[in-house]
Symmetry: C2
Subunit: 184 residues, 2 copies
């Protein structure tokens, strides 16, 4: 349970170098990748924009059930949800202002394009896979903290507000704290 | 079991319009999407480059165990393998000519960048998810044939050689029929 590279970035994390950082073939065993803890969730980067000429990145998220995450939008990031295990309700506002949601279960898929306000709520312990416009996969590492372990028992990482805002700004993400959803 | 839109393209398939065709939010239930049959495999497009400004597309492939598929390379397409269920051995040649393979099992991940010769062999009934540079997801529809059903019992679709070559040419794909792999 070590977050010591926050104090000493030269020290780790051990996953540094697991992804090649350029368009080169590689393989990962289940559970491998670049781990970061953010609140109670474990985000794992399987592929980054560095390998795809900026086209896309891929993450998994292993998350316990929890509260709805704050509503936000991404200026330039398309985002997908593919449920491997579990249940996630995705909330999205359409360009005409309609707010709706869909409960996603294993095998279900959701797409939220750049610019739309959205949120989600994990309703059962979940593994989901997300594909993101290249570069956005680092958002979760910047808002959260790198970790070497995929152990679900590790403590949550609660970022300070300025860390949240800095990560948001770096990745073109706006938060809407007063947003409400009819079925949340 | 209807392929009649091959004769009458104005007729179907019924999945036409399931994807919005522009960057707009949408959701799919497991099993929904644009289905195409190619040999014994069912390819389903969950997302296309039309929704992502050309960045990426997403497919699932439901496939029985089978022979190694012919070795090929894509001029401009990055390709990923994420195993949801099953077992797939991915073969890839590195730029220095080394040929190797990796057996992927559920949760495992593989990346093959543009330009590298590669192949794969499904070693158990498999569902895998693939992310591809935007536009390449149509390759499987062009080489295979659209179908309305996800029924695994539908007959295989065996394309003629000229259909294979035309789809390959349209999507920057070269085939290497005489290629051999040390562990195939």
């Amino acid at each position: 349970m070590t977050f010591e590279y926050l104090q000493d970035p030269g020290h780790g994390p051990r996953w540094h170098g697991v992804l090649p950082g350029r368009p080169e073939a590689f393989f990962l065993k289940r559970g491998d990748g670049e781990h970061a803890k953010l609140f109670g969730d474990l985000f794992t980067v399987l592929l980054s924009g560095d390998e795809t000429e900026g086209q896309f990145g891929i993450i998994t998220c292993d998350c316990p059930a929890g509260d709805i995450i704050p509503t936000h939008s991404h200026a330039a990031t398309h985002e997908t949800f593919y449920i491997v295990d579990g249940k996630v309700r995705v909330f999205v506002e359409s360009p005409d202002g309609q707010r709706s949601s869909r409960l996603l279960e294993p095998g279900d898929f959701g797409f939220v394009p750049a610019g739309l306000a959205h949120a989600y709520r994990v309703e059962a312990p979940t593994r989901m896979l997300g594909v993101l416009s290249g570069g956005f996969e680092r958002f979760f590492q910047r808002m959260g903290t790198p970790t070497d372990t995929a152990d679900p028992g590790q403590p949550p990482f609660i970022p300070e507000l300025d860390r949240i805002m800095a990560a948001g700004q770096q990745h073109g993400t706006r938060f809407f704290p007063d947003f409400t959803w009819p079925d949340a």
